[in-house]
Amino acid sequence: MGEIFRRIRYLLHRRRFDQELESDMEFHREMAAREGRNNFGNTLRMREQAREAWGWTWLGRLGQDLRYAARTLGRSPGFTLTAVLVLAIGIGVNVSAFSLFNMVALKPLPVPDPGSIVRLERRSPQSYTSEMPYASAIFYRDHAKSLSAMMAVLGVPPMEIDGDLQPTSASFATANYFTELGTVAAYGRMFDRVREGAANSAPVAVLSYGLWQRRFGADPSVVGRTIHLNGKPATVIGITPDAFPTLGGQHPEIWLPIAQQPYFVQGSKVLTDPSAGSVRMWGRLAAGASPKMAAQELLALTNELRRQHPKDIWDNEYIDIKPGAHLQVMQPEMYRVAAMVAVLTLLILAVACANLGGLLLARAVTREHEMGIRIAIGASRGRIFRQLCTESLLLAFLGAAAGLGLSYAVMQVVLSRLGAPKWVTATPDWRVLLFTIGISVVAALFFGLTPALQIARQRQRKTIARQVLIGAQVAASCVLLIVAGLLVRASLHALYTDPGFGYQQLVSIDPELGQHGYTPADAQAFLTQMQSRLLAVPGVKSVSLVKLPPLGHTVSRADTEIDGHPVAIYPNWVDAGFFRTMGIPLVLGRSFYAGEKNAVIVSQSLARKQWPGQNPIGQKFKNGDDSFLVVGVAGNARVNAINDDDAVEVYWPAQLADMADMVVMVKEAGEPGNLPPIVKSISASLDPKLFPETRQIKMLYHDNVLGVERVAMVVSLIGFVAVLVAGVGIIGLVSFSVSQRLKEIAIRMALGAKKVQVLAAVLRQFAWPIVIGMGVGTGIAAAASKVLRRALYGVDNLDPLSYVAAIGVLGAIVVLAALLPTRRALRLDLAKTLHYE
């Protein structure tokens, strides 16, 4: 240990120690001379050797190398600028992607002790749900010793403030929610654990900062005022801070205490119903409790719950514990998406590195003279290799600095476009910086290692390395372009393809009867009245009932196998008029009769899979132990799986027991727009405590498509950047190889070779790498795009048009890039060229 300190002392005071050493040796020499002995040794060299004992020689060499590298790069600013730019793009794209991932999944929320906050979700080997019954959450809270607190949030449909036409988003939260997150109100106060913990306390609401500014003109006197939420008076007690980190990244405009939910949603039994999955649950681990201990304890409690409510707990159910204090709690599917994005961005880096590697190799030929001199005056291969690696590292770090700046700018734009919460900043944190350093070292290895080896071994004129680099660039660009092509096709497909139902004129109305404590019979009576009143509205063409409306809040899906192929079946419960209202054609058979049981209607796609070549009408469809008679075959309609072309549908006749969960679908003749106020007044006259959620399907559909469009745009942009970078690289390499062979070309032409032949001779060495690169790229894209299938809106991941288009664009750019520099060879002034040298 002492030795390390002494070494560091020698490093810090190296000037003084060096002087001492010099004085020692000078004295030695004086004494030797006095005794008549002459010393012919090289004093400087000997001193250097003595200094090596300190163990810092490498540092000095590094400094030397860095200074030399900086001078070399400074002497060719054009090359340096190109290299830094190419690297900035390659590294910047990766840093941006990582910054986003970091922001969403790695960076803990700025709340007290974020490490102990965990997200708790129900899971079993077969099932998963993000929501759990509030009663279960309370049970876990009361009995788990490994949790010091339980926070729960209940999302509800938007509520009306004081009779506004536009409803406002709202959530119920447990009274400890804000104290656990350390939230300090901008004005007034947040929930108090004692005061807002009881059901019979005075009804209160906390408003978001944004709502307070927009709806209440940023007036601080709003605190203390009484507002009406869905007609129920409540006192505003506080305004959330502007920068307000919430669990799970949810930002409702109104926060209400969960204990008062039965007051705001009259007749609701959500808080006591042990089967209604309703709240998102978080916990805080008690001091000294590990997630593992908590998991064991919660498993025992789950088994206890099963004894109490055998029907409501799954087989092998357990509570999944994940770090909870992040913007997003990552699910396995999200990791898949993140991995895919990572692959795409790393491909960009690969293109950039291969490109730069080519440039470095080309430059090596022009540096032959310099290297020759260095080797001649005694530099070893190792020393030259180290020098070149230092140069690459310097380039990589310059590129990384530029990339970091680029990524900061990109993040600023992304954050403002996404409407990210105020507390999220684009400023890189230590994780991002560490990642940047890591990725620039990786980049330096990628682009610098091969050229450095080739140069140190004096093999820079070999073409094989250049060919490999070109092939790699072409392959990576090819993958990126094909994926971009697929996504563009998918968004076009989604935009212009019929999802199988007439979404343009549809409106869904969810009265949420079940949540207001309606019995099935009451619900049926209400729905009948509602339907007949709606039918009387001018412009309404038809009305029907469905349990899972298109683009609704819940989706049900059953994964089974038919003949060994996995099939995702989307079930739905509908009434007889559903198909007419939705505009889904009945291809065979008929719709349900009113009150029909034991019948089923399947989609064409399911019929084809289940009974290939047979008449599906009259077949038996098994569901569990019961079998149902197929009475009709409907056209394929991705009502609940807009993005999944492999989905098949099964429709069951809605029974009386389903009535409290039914949603009314309305088809209008023209543009649906004026319906919400009418629905509101009809509903209010039937039952004033209801506030149905009216949603225009066309809007939801466009919102959904917008997401794909954005992704397609970003990926296309990235793809084109990659192709352009590759194009620039190919231009550089071809023009280099032309200038290298200028004399040969001139001689050939002087001897009467045709231009085409000369061109072929120059370009031949690039043809194979490009063709192989394209082949490999296409193969990789075909294999990798399987992952994309679900996001492709029914476009096949082997869609030939996307592949042909991508390869065509790439081919055109590559050919252009290869031909541009050869023009110089064709316009050659033969006499001048041959006279040169």
């Binding site: 030795e3 001492e20 004085s23 004295f27 030695h28 003595a50 300190w54």
Partner: protein, 111 residues
């Protein structure tokens, strides 16, 4: 590149010799070389190119320290002296060396 001593200095022996001559009193670099030369009956010559790197190594290892003093020629010069660590080191080196030479001599005598 490596300046090997012409007079056949056994490799690795120099630190031990330096430690030994510093055992009784502190000396400056030239005196160390002189003393080794004298005590070995002028068989072993310590070159400047080997002495100073070795001394630097010993300084870094903490076996010796250097302090400014005045030489016999009235010049300011650094005197090297043993540290307790150096003393320990010398003892182990000496006993190791003794064992090894004994072993070698045993072989030479009997084989």
């Amino acid at each position: 590149m490596n300046d090997r001593p012409k007079s056949g200095m056994p490799s690795g022996a120099l630190p031990m010799l330096i430690l030994r001559v510093l055992q009784t009193r502190s000396l400056h670099g030239y005196a160390i070389a002189q003393r080794i030369h004298l005590l070995s009956s002028e068989v072993l010559a310590v070159e400047e190119g080997l002495l100073y790197p070795t001394l630097q190594k010993m300084l870094v290892k903490g076996w010796v320290t250097a302090e400014w003093g005045i030489s016999e020629t009235n010049r300011k010069v650094r005197f090297y002296s043993l540290t307790p660590e150096g003393r320990n080191c010398l003892e182990t080196e000496l006993s190791d060396y003794g064992r090894v030479t004994q072993a070698i001599q045993d072989i030479l005598r009997t084989a």
